[in-house]
Subunit: 424 residues, 4 copies
């Protein structure tokens, strides 16, 4: 059974979803919980938690300010909020318990910029913890991740763990923008073994994946097409139509040839253009992402996408500028940690099915942290904690079975303790 | 030379452009000017000026409120503003001067939802009257039209005109949304002769078109595509991509076959869709307009566009709903008024070139008023007043040569007087 | 009533439709008829009839040979056929009848490369004169035109006409490829007045248009896209897909902005590409045409089309070469000839409705001849002869009402005689 | 070193490539070689070799006749040709050598309908064995496969092999049309162990893949769009443009969402449409194929493609009919045969690198035979024989290193003997 105070914490976070680099309330609330629950040795917040120069996908000033001001209206520690101002969110909590390895646990904490379902079938509605922020939602379970991070820290603090535990509460995973800034912070440099986790992923409650692989490398692109306006009735020929360019680009970028070396993806996730029905549109924009089973495949998609954008602009006599945004590499779980996780999972009440390995088929910027640790000679493992989720990830009816939060805590905490015994 | 107080009025209106049905400040300022300049017999404002049930293209509550509140911050008569609340903008001024025909003059007063140029070459920047409202601009000269309406009323009031003059300060022309509501108001029903006018239209300062024809019939359409979101990396096949549907629709609607019966137009003026780079877009929207040299040709374009929207949705397994918005018919200038305007223009200082007729090739909801008057047995004429405009209509560098405001006033006032003499 | 021998001639030509520059049988049969019916002063055939260096749209050797050999199988004068070998088709017949003006009559004689309907409702099927050549058809009435040319010559020969009559039997109108070569031949240089005609054009039997205008200028384009083949299953990414480039080009060329100066057209009339289902297509082709109400508008469409082809190729990493094919300008009918035709038409039995002017809205390379004569100081007129036609022009069920052949002959011959009286 | 008579045989086959079901000369030549080289126990040809009712992708009568007549001009046994008439090509050769298992070897024999390179760098040009058939080519090495089939049979005949060997010379692999008809023939029903092979596949000479997997399931589709013609200049609006429908379909079918369950493919390999530049195209056609890593994924692509075709037709007011053509499933190589092949390959001179397994990533209708044998309780293995090939498979510069033909023969023959020893 998941601890009731943790369920209540998760629901509070769910109620206040904050997208990438806007996790002001979220970070402050996490800090508050940590301080009240655990006797920490160190707690780094905001600028102190991350390598600020490696942040990617940071929204503009106005957007940051709006969310910051919203957070200020809640009852949280103002001094903590102030240390986050400007979009320096996230925290690293450190527990030192004598000799032993330094083990890291990374959980992500951001929400998504999408509306949550509002009909009565949706549990957060029925039980009163639906998002309070219009157009934002925890649609990928990061509210549960943050909660598991706190629960696991508490559990390890009460165990006979010997070594150092660092929990990384990472912002901005959804825009693959926060992973690198945590990977490059000093805090990660001495980590010997790293765990990361995700809830759901189409696995039901009671099912666990000891080691997840198959992360797609990903890169964000934003193409802005600029043409020339004209009166659409009076002089259509004087316009240079940026929306036609954009539409041509959308159609053709989804049609980039599949690649025999492995999986590729592209998505024109957000588009917009034009100003009024009677004006030939002079500007349009595509916010896209490309992915690949390997970094090479992602580069292949990127190169082709740029070609499509460029030619679509040229076709309609427009200009295009493509801004290259955040990116994340692929990574692999190390077998020794996979074995430990599988063993520990076996003893967790409620866990009934343990898969040794599975492919993610999506992207994750935890891979920055995993690769950093592995390049420093350490090991890393990405764990999947099954949960019954009614809607798919990123959809308006996504929700988690809170039972699985307990599974996650018990499993992760157990694995951390076991690591300190087996991998000194 | 244009009267300096009128130049200053025009610049004040230019500074505060208000799009369709949001002309709160504009209407209040016009009322203020009228009251201070002319001894009117009647002045109808807001709900009293229009047939409210015929308004088209009215924005939503939130949008109206935001603009209303903005207007309240200016120094204008609050009681006038209150009578406009809810988007009931516009005014009708009436001058009674003994026996004679009832002559109408229609001028439109709304701005466009587009940003104004901000470099020093643009006169409103250089001379300090650039738009104060971000994303809004008088890019079609309606600031000058409102000014001409006031100036002409003043001039007629001081002349030996005999009859009744009604000046219609019409809102929402840019969305072809206000014309019908003025055409159907009681005020227009007894008008014997109607003049309407437009500045610019690619004619230079000093050139005049006595009678403009060739108005394209127009209709606004708004198509909303609804699909299904999915994680773009993890399960792209589970999405139903509304942006792909929209892009397919955009491409194909511009490709609707040209028609041998005459000119047609289509424009996907505003598009948008999707929520985040890593989510298969579940919703997208096209704000479009179709036009035709005749109403039949406009219907042809409308029918084809709906077919394109429907099939594009079907192709990507999405749904689409198309809302049919505002519309305007075509119309023709009557020869007897064209003759009068041409004669009067001949005597206006600064007018050097008089074209009897020209084609507009665009749309105008003045046609609702023109047809109403003509169907009631009266005559109507749409006059073009040339002005040097650096940028094209609806573009960010559009501006008028203020000299031509004087031409417009003198010509229109002269024609109104002449009508009262010749068409009793 | 149309002469029965002429009806029978028309049906024979209908049975053997020959597309552009392949009118071997057709020319030979015309020559045979002329020689048997009229005592001509001169008869120029093949190379002697045209300025060979101005031929446009000539098919390749193999195609010419196939049609030539087919013509040889019919019972026609071999020496005539030999003079046409290599695609030098067409003829000019000259009648000298004393002093007076030189009057020209131009009729076109080619068929179209399209299949004819084969169900019993189609008169040529029911009455046994359907096309014998698979994939070719007289779908635009040029069989009737050739017949009218012969009938008019015969009628004028028997009249009291004074002057010189030249009848130009022009090849290759359908590809706008023959007009220029006749316009530039010596035979046209001394023509004072030129008549050209077309049957049908959506006017019923008994209706006549004295002067047709509004010819769209036209130009043919052929774009060849070249990419790189690859195994579509094994290595799709190694291909450069010429069919994707072509499809993108087709979609976007129909979407070239409409122009406010007047009518424009584009058509991707023939496309093809690829070699096998399992090979990424390495080559594709578009045979297109662009048109405009003026030559400038046609140039506008041409320039935009080339841009579309170029960018579509670039988008899919292909090359494109565009060959610019045949073209024709626009032209206007002169009023003095229009008046004469209208007068004469008034006296023709069966003609019940005479329109002075109408717009064609299509293209015609008769305009080359009209402009040549006009530039030399002469006058020209293009006459429309109504005919009930079940299917539209260029469709498989097109046919003419043979009654109207007689109208055409009587009207044209009458006009020629009248010209010699009125325009000495 | 490959036997010189076999090199000469391969070159003769290369010179006369015959596409699917048109392998008249090829089959006759194979029969001739077999009869002269080996003392066979049975030889089944044409209708006797295949289950005729399972043929797929058979071309039309006229096409078959043209190729049949061409084959008749060569010096081959007429009675053999006659048994193939109507497109019943292929042969099964049987060798009985006492007790032991029945081993099958399947080789495919058809060419591709594509032109061969004709510059001097291309070995078949330089050495005088370039294709004699315009527009046809052995661009996938089936000339070498047929040769290996004969060579292996000869080698086994001379060995101490005990059991029965059946060599299946299969027609129509390139259209995945022949595999099923051989799989369903009686000859395959008693086969205990089946080998199939392919040369090249991007592996160099000297490299061998003991067991190939990852065959994509494949299905051929042919969509025919039917609209309405119209004069492209005179009445574009009266047309219903089948080429626009086809182009829209091509663009959107390549853009069908990628699937997270595995690899998918689509290719619009051949397209065509329209009749003339000045006619709105009334008909167009796409010859496509869909593939998937599993049959389900292929079905996913098929269903989406049909939706795209249907909606694209609807969009342009056209009809579409889709004919479903040939198809092939996926399959897997059995480990016990893979082991045998790997062992034998180790002893073949010139073979320097042995890969145990590799993925094909393409399709093959050998899978019909493999699955049939496996479902009957037997085992199957698909072997890759590396060869240096200058151009990719299916491209105009493809060619094989004839050295590798010897490798193939030695390896396959050796494996067959070994099977008879190890898998009695």
């Amino acid at each position: 059974m998941t601890d009731e105070t943790l369920v209540s914490l998760r629901r509070d976070l769910h109620r206040k979803p904050e997208p990438a680099w806007r996790e002001f309330y979220t970070t402050a609330r996490i800090v508050e919980e940590l301080e009240s629950r655990v006797d920490l040795d160190e707690l780094h917040v905001g600028r102190d938690a991350i390598a600020a120069e490696h942040r990617m996908g940071v929204p503009d000033e106005a957007e940051l300010t709006a969310w910051y001001e919203q957070a200020c209206e809640y009852d949280v520690d103002e001094s903590v909020l102030e240390s986050l101002d400007g979009g320096y969110t996230g925290a690293v909590a450190v527990l030192e318990r004598g000799d032993g390895p330094t083990v890291g646990l990374r959980v992500d904490i951001d929400g998504l910029p999408r509306a949550e379902a509002d009909d009565g079938d949706h549990a957060p509605v029925a039980e009163g913890f639906r998002s309070e922020h219009e157009g934002a939602m925890h649609a990928c379970g990061h509210d549960a991740h943050a909660t598991i991070g706190i629960g696991a820290l508490e559990a390890v603090a009460e165990s006979d763990f010997s070594g150092t535990l660092k929990v990384f509460f990472q912002p901005a995973e959804e825009v693959v923008g926060g992973g690198k800034s945590m990977a490059k912070s000093d805090h990660l440099q001495d980590v010997d073994h790293l765990l990361a986790l995700h809830i759901g992923l189409d696995h039901p409650t009671g099912e666990v994946v000891a080691g997840i692989d198959g992360f797609l490398a990903v890169r964000h692109l934003e193409a802005t097409f600029t043409g020339e306006p004209a009166h659409a009735g009076g002089h259509p020929e004087q316009g240079r139509n940026a929306v036609q360019a954009m539409a041509t680009a959308v159609q053709n970028c989804y049609a980039i040839p599949r690649h025999s070396d492995g999986a590729t993806r592209i998505n024109a996730g957000v588009v917009e253009g034009g100003s009024a029905a009677n004006v030939i549109p002079e500007e349009a924009r595509i916010v896209a992402e490309v992915r690949g089973e390997t970094t090479e495949l992602m580069e292949y998609m990127h190169e082709k996408a740029e070609r499509v954008f460029r030619s679509a602009a040229e076709m309609h006599d427009c200009e295009v500028e493509t801004e290259i945004g955040a990116a994340a590499p692929s990574a692999t779980s190390d077998q020794e940690l996979v074995d430990i996780v599988a063993d520990v999972a076996d003893g967790v009440a409620g866990v009934e099915n343990i898969l040794e390995r599975d492919e993610l088929g999506g992207s994750e910027d935890a891979t920055f942290l995993m690769r950093e640790v592995q390049q420093n000679g350490g090991t890393a493992c990405y764990v999947g904690v099954g949960t019954d989720h009614p809607g798919g990830h990123h959809t308006s009816t996504f929700d988690v079975d809170e039972e699985s939060i307990g599974h996650g805590i018990e499993m992760v905490a157990g694995a951390i303790e076991e690591i300190s015994r087996k991998q000194p």
